[in-house]
């Protein structure tokens, strides 16, 4: 099927990843429970323990079958704890020699149950996430559909076909396994960009192919679910990222367990952009040292819309396959609100730059204004391609009106779907946080827990 997304916004930045593939020299690995949304970790190792690829590091307190596995061979150096002794990070020392692979005998699962058990035991289960909530699903549940978004429309996002280069067979096997996992009666939807080279994905058998056209967030899985199979209360849909599908496929195809993935290094403040192949959690400080000359930059794991600042532990998050390096803002400008603004980027048409059709801008992290209450009430709808009232949903989340949130359709959205609203908001409202808090409140309510 074909879908056209009309509302949205493509933010153009310089610094897309060049097609060079490298491997970093790293001897440290950081695994952080905060990468997994709302997982309360229980550590299964102590500092000094030897771990190898696939051995469990911590499990979820709520469901001990869900484990997060070590991406490397090595020894646990330290378990860093933060406030209230919550685990912030597990630091693993690793030797470059035995970095990436661990060979198993090729597993031959007979049914859905066995696939789930194998994935759980080897730490592959967390690759699956569910909507609503974007959390790791309960291993006993099965979704009504599974979505794989085969393109990323976010700023500077790498082409999925490039990330999967040389891993086509693994990807096909991954899709086959996932189909077996969710059962033949449930559909797998592969969503591609119209007018792109989709040969790789079109040869996948027995799945439903969809084509999307239009600006970001066309590539967001939330937009695709909304158009193809909207979620009602009580329903779940799963989604997996293409590289992770290939990782699952590799395990079942060759018996090789590896958490290696391609990560695109992008952004205007990098000397050289390109792809790096590494396991998740790998220490990136050597790359940053080499490629960043300017001190005042922000390193982001993910894209500029939904990514997270890289601070103490210099690594890419579990689900990200992109790092963006952007200039840190904060320069003050004399009566900037009055000047014509020849170089100002804005979705609104209030700056002269728009009049002259300027397309590329030097972006930085300046907030451009102070936080205010909602004033411009019609701006969100211009970048929000859902049949949902964005302002009303945000208000329902702020006022904690759970009934209203449900009726307006909060089950269909995630914080990343509100990223563009947040970007264009003149009141500088933190839409993503509001939605995330709303979802958390809802989840607690559904599970009968207190906040």
């Amino acid at each position: 099927m074909e879908f056209k997304i009309r509302k949205g916004l493509d933010i153009r930045l310089e610094g897309a990843a060049t097609r060079t593939f490298k491997r970093p020299d790293t001897s440290t690995c950081f695994v952080r429970p905060s990468d997994f949304r709302w997982i309360k970790p229980r550590p299964l190792v102590q500092s000094g323990d030897t771990v190898e690829i696939g051995s469990p590091l911590f499990c979820s307190k709520e469901d001990e079958r869900i484990i997060v596995a070590s991406p490397v061979n090595g020894t646990v150096r330290e378990i860093v704890r933060g406030e209230r002794r919550a685990i912030e990070c597990l630091i693993i020392d690793t030797t470059p020699a035995d970095f990436f692979f661990r060979q198993y005998s090729v597993p031959q699962p007979k049914d859905s149950r066995e696939i789930a058990d194998l994935m759980l035991a080897n730490g592959l289960w967390p690759f699956i996430r569910q909507r609503p909530f974007s959390t790791i699903p309960n291993p006993d549940s099965r979704p009504k559909a599974l979505f794989i978004s085969c393109f990323d429309s976010a700023p500077l996002a790498p082409e999925t076909a490039l990330l999967l280069k040389g891993r086509e067979d693994e990807f096909y096997e991954g899709v086959r396994i996932l189909q077996q996992l969710i059962g033949d009666e449930n559909k797998i939807h592969l969503c591609m960009r119209k007018e792109a080279d989709n040969g790789l994905f079109e040869s996948v058998k027995s799945v439903h192919l969809h084509y999307f056209k239009g600006p970001h967030p066309a590539g967001n899985v939330g937009t695709q679910i909304h158009r193809i199979e909207p979620i009602d209360k009580g329903e779940t849909v799963w989604f997996v990222q293409p590289q992770d599908v290939a990782t699952i496929g590799r395990f079942f195809l060759n018996g090789v367990l590896s958490f290696e993935k391609n990560v695109a290094f992008t952004g205007p403040s990098l000397k050289n952009t390109g792809f790096y192949s590494m396991p998740y959690g790998a220490d990136l400080s050597s790359i940053f040292q080499e490629e960043i000359t300017d001190e005042s930059v922000r390193k982001i794991s993910g894209n500029i819309l939904t990514g997270k600042k890289i601070e103490q532990f210099q690594t890419v998050r579990f689900y990200d396959s992109q790092v963006t390096v952007l200039e840190e803002g904060g320069r003050r400008e004399l009566i900037g609100w009055l000047l014509p603004g020849f170089k100002k980027w804005s979705f609104s048409h209030t700056f002269v730059a728009w009049l002259f059709g300027k397309k590329t801008f030097a972006h930085d992290t300046t907030l451009h204004g102070g936080r205010r209450n909602f004033v411009m009430t019609d701006v969100y709808e211009k970048v929000f391609p859902f049949e949902i009232l964005p302002t009303e949903l945000l208000k329902a989340c702020i006022t904690k009106d759970i009934e209203m949130m449900e009726e307006l359709g909060i089950y269909e959205v995630d914080d990343e779907d509100f990223a563009l609203c947040e970007v264009v908001c003149p009141s500088k409202t933190e839409c993503q946080k509001i939605i995330r808090d709303g979802l958390y409140l809802l989840k607690m309510e559904l599970e009968g827990k207190k906040l």
Binding site: K344, F347, T350, H368, G369, R372, E392
Partner: protein
Amino acid sequence: MNIFEKIGKKLEPTFEKGKPLHCLYPLYDAIDTFLLTPKEVTSEGSHIRDAVDMKRIMITVMIALCPALFFGMWNLGYQHFLSQGMESGFWNCLLYGFLKWLPLVIVTYVSGLTVEIIFAHKRGHQVAEGFFVTGFIIPMIMPPDVPLWMVAIATAFAVLFAKEVFGGTGYNFLNPALVARAFVFFAYPSVISGDSVWISESADAISGATPLALAMNGSMEQMPSLLDLCIGTIPGCIGETSKIAILLGAIILIYTQVANWRIMLSVVVGGLVTGALLHTAGMSPVTGWEHLLMGGFLFGAVFMATDPVTATHTESGKYIYGLLIGILAIVIRVINKGYPEGMMLAILLMNIFAPLIDYCVIHIKIRKRKVNISRHKIKL
């Protein structure tokens, strides 16, 4: 780092918490962010943000108001010298109007900002920009000869009771500028009575009635020509007279997407249709077109009804909201001879009903969503 930044850095510690001048921090912060763009960077969520902020939105509205303001100032002088039977040059007229306008705008800002700053200090937030536009509009919709103390009280009342008690800009449900006008309108009827309220020359020797008042009294033969109505060389408030200047403002607002065109369009359509209907029914000698060109109708449609906070927040609600304003304004004009200017009352009334319209639109959408989802399931 420029000189202002240096001065700001030096001064900032004196306004910190615990220091005697801390109570003036909102004022310091307002001046600081007025001179220099804020230095804050994004901390959570999206890492880049749109360059637009509330200050930019508000200044755009003020720029859009400028054609009407400048014309209004000139017209004030022009009407003055005309009524005195004197000839006068362009700059003389403008200067006369400017000198009439200046005390009004100073009094408005001082009175309104004082209330704003007190509340900003009490609540511990920044001074919101909303008042800059409110304070700019108030002198444009007041009779130019209104006593200044009245303006001060009306502005303070509007900011306090129409905005701050509900939580400040963004939470108000009534347009503060209109509340200020309504306050003068109802609290001091003896000073500015119903039919001469929009007249600029009451203190001068010859009083010039507005075309609207003339039309409503049935004296159609004294009406200025349509061209005069368009250009605006007629008696009236500063903001409302020149329809061409207002249209210029409307183009700026629509072009920059600061104001919603749906509201403007539907107000005009509502007014036009109602005016034409009442005219054909023989209830009013004024045609639909003339209604648009008289009084504050167009000014209200472009600058007051489009206030994003007090209008409906849903897109489809905006059509209903606008249509009803247009209809009500003309109905009030035609049926209630005592208050020929119905626009202010129509907008204020619809401000009150906007949440109700929103409520209905939201619930229709929710129902539609449910139907859509169940239809989707059947299809699958």
